[in-house]
């Protein structure tokens, strides 16, 4: 009997010791945009893989690329332009998975300001998010051939806060929105969809991959770390698929994990529904065509003020090694 207990204890200790610690740095605050990871954690998918995952929420002043460069995270979620920009600046990030097959970034305008197509942009004030989120916008403007320095015939760019006030207070004709977040806030504020004109970046010919999972290249060279990442991606994608199938439960899990206590369940349910549309198309493996399209979009808008990237990324900016193994079974 005593032996058995000892053996059991030993097994337990071995189990505890072999649990691999993974720290995930999110791009933004705790919300359904990251439901897959929270679901995988709360539903025990990470635990089943023997992982002990810590999820760090982000915020307006947190650059995930900086966090991972300082070694405070093992893996981050970020948008591809920011990741490629970091790569060019000496932080060699590698895309190991791409849960968001499609992007949720859109550009929405109040019809009453007289905007019906991009041809109406000149002379208007447009709200843009910065902090690494401005690249798609500048790529689009370059494509349209519009100047962004406020000169004649160009557009006036405004750094909008991470909310929709600029549109509601009519300080900007158009603002950036995410389908799953701010667009809903505009509707919540009492504006109806037919009062809005909305442009999707993909329809406008600007492809930009959003939330992907990135790790440091040198760490990935370590087979043990790569193995951990395989488990992490497998469990995360399981979390995403669960969240897609059970949106209400996923929204509740997000609320449970929100430390600020300022998120409302109602809004998270809406967000989960919209996010599910973006993740539904893929299994987590990066489509190389999307990668090439993103690089092409960014290179179309190289300028000294907004240097996302100045040349095609060197080396392996993405890999299928992790997803191939994670999605094998």
């Amino acid at each position: 009997m005593k032996k058995l207990i000892t053996a059991g204890l030993l097994a337990l200790m071995a189990g505890a010791a072999s649990a691999e610690d993974v720290t995930l740095q999110l791009k933004w605050v705790t919300q359904a945009q990251f439901a897959g990871y929270y679901v995988a954690k709360d539903k025990g998918f990470y635990e089943e893989e023997g992982l002990n995952v810590t999820i760090k929420p982000g915020g307006p002043d947190i650059a995930p690329e900086q966090v991972i460069a300082s070694g405070q995270a093992d893996v981050i979620t970020t948008w591809m332009p920011a990741a490629l920009a970091a790569r060019e600046r000496g932080v060699p990030l590698v895309n190991i998975a791409q849960p968001f097959k499609n992007g949720g970034l859109e550009f929405t305008c109040l019809k009453e300001t007289g905007v019906e197509s991009p041809a109406d942009f000149p002379g208007k004030t447009l709200g843009v998010w910065f902090f690494g989120n401005e690249y798609p916008f500048y790529a689009w403007m370059a494509k349209l051939g519009l100047k962004t320095d406020g000169s004649e015939g160009g557009v006036t760019v405004l750094k909008q806060a991470f909310n929709v006030d600029a549109l509601l207070q009519k300080q900007a004709a158009c603002i950036s929105v995410m389908t799953y977040n701010e667009y809903g806030q505009v509707l919540d504020a009492g504006i109806t969809p037919d009062q809005l004109v909305t442009f999707s970046y993909r329809d406008q010919g600007v492809t930009v991959l959003e939330d992907g999972l990135y790790v440091m290249e040198d760490k990935l060279a370590d087979p043990a770390f790569a193995e951990t990442m395989v488990k992490f991606v497998r469990a995360s994608m399981k979390g995403w698929k669960y969240a897609e199938a059970n949106p209400d439960e996923a929204a509740q899990i997000v609320i449970d994990n929100d430390e600020s206590g300022a998120q409302s369940l109602e809004h998270q349910k809406y967000m989960m529904g919209e996010v599910a549309k973006l993740t539904a198309g893929g299994n987590g493996a990066l489509d190389p065509a999307d990668f090439d399209a993103t690089v092409a979009s960014l290179l179309a808008a190289v300028s000294p003020e907004n240097p996302a990237i100045t040349k095609a990324p060197e080396g392996k900016a993405w890999t299928h090694d992790i997803t191939d193994k994670a999605l094998a079974e």
Binding site: A63, Q66, A69, V91, F131, E134, T156, L158, K159, Q171
Partner: protein, 282 residues
């Protein structure tokens, strides 16, 4: 221990010994000595910073070395100047002038109407201790994204600290002096102009100094919540996102220079105006 670290530490020890020597030497009593010591101390801090960054190979995206920041500063002076004009001259300075000016007038009104003073002063004392900076997102929503909203945040931040200082200053003339004015038959405005305003000047300048550092904080924070694509707060809050950390530090250097110059100008004006006050005698 790397060479950079040894050199840095050696410089530190040498500079410290020099400063200790100067402080005891008659040279330390001269105006030049008074400038020499703090400047050498500042240089020492920069040298140590450079040495630590080099010795531990700290990545640039975490903490750039002073030399890298200086290089960035030199190559982007045009950008930094535009940001300076937007944030300091347009936002902070106009807000500073409006806020302190309004507070000054309100203080005179309080002085004229004791009922108003008794009511406003406790409220003002309380509000002056509040984190007014939290109003920034709301004021940006109200006044738009241009420099006007930044000025509004500055006005809200400097008004009450200035008000309580001026009110205290206007009450600082001594009883005897006021009685003397009364015996000369001076009117309220004459007494205010000739006696109580001059007597209030040390308090006014104290208020202005507090307002000066609050003004810069207010103007920069407000830009976090929406701005045109120019401004120090805009640059600081966005350059981190594109890992342009040297630029962030260059902006911090501009902010430090602007803040010190602002404070220095007020201190100079104070010296010229309140030359009679005991604190200015040396």
């Amino acid at each position: 221990m790397s060479l950079a670290l040894i050199l840095g530490l050696a410089f530190w020890l040498g500079a410290w010994a020099t400063n200790a020597l100067v402080a005891r030497h008659p040279f330390g009593r001269t105006p030049a000595g008074r400038i020499f010591v703090p400047v050498l101390f500042g240089i020492t801090l920069l040298v140590l910073w450079e040495a630590l960054v080099r010795a531990f190979a700290v990545p640039t995206v975490i903490l750039p070395a002073p030399s890298a920041i200086a290089g960035k500063f030199a190559e982007s002076t045009g950008l930094l100047w535009a940001d300076f004009v937007q944030t300091v001259l347009k936002g902070a300075l106009s807000g500073f002038v409006i806020g302190t000016g309004a507070a000054f007038l309100a203080a005179v009104a309080c002085d004229r109407v004791p009922f108003l003073r008794d009511g406003l002063l406790p409220v003002g004392n309380f509000v002056a201790a509040l984190p007014i900076v939290g109003l920034a997102p709301i004021l940006v929503m109200w006044f738009g994204f241009g420099w006007q909203s930044k000025a509004a945040v500055v006005v809200a931040m400097v008004f009450f600290p200035m008000l309580i200082n001026v009110v205290a200053g206007l009450g600082s003339a001594e009883r005897m002096q006021r009685d003397l004015m009364a015996t000369w038959g001076a009117s309220y405005w004459q007494a205010l102009w000739k006696l109580r305003l001059p007597a209030a000047m040390p308090f006014v300048f104290n208020g202005l100094k507090i307002a000066a550092s609050l003004a810069l904080i207010g103007a920069i924070v407000a830009e976090y919540f929406g701005s045109p694509v120019v401004g120090m707060g805009f640059r600081i809050s966005t350059a981190v996102g594109v890992l342009n950390i040297e630029l962030v530090w260059a902006e911090i250097a501009v902010a430090a220079l602007a803040g010190s110059a602002f404070y220095g100008l007020i201190a100079l004006a104070e010296k010229a105006v309140t030359f009679w006050h005991p604190s200015q005698r040396t």
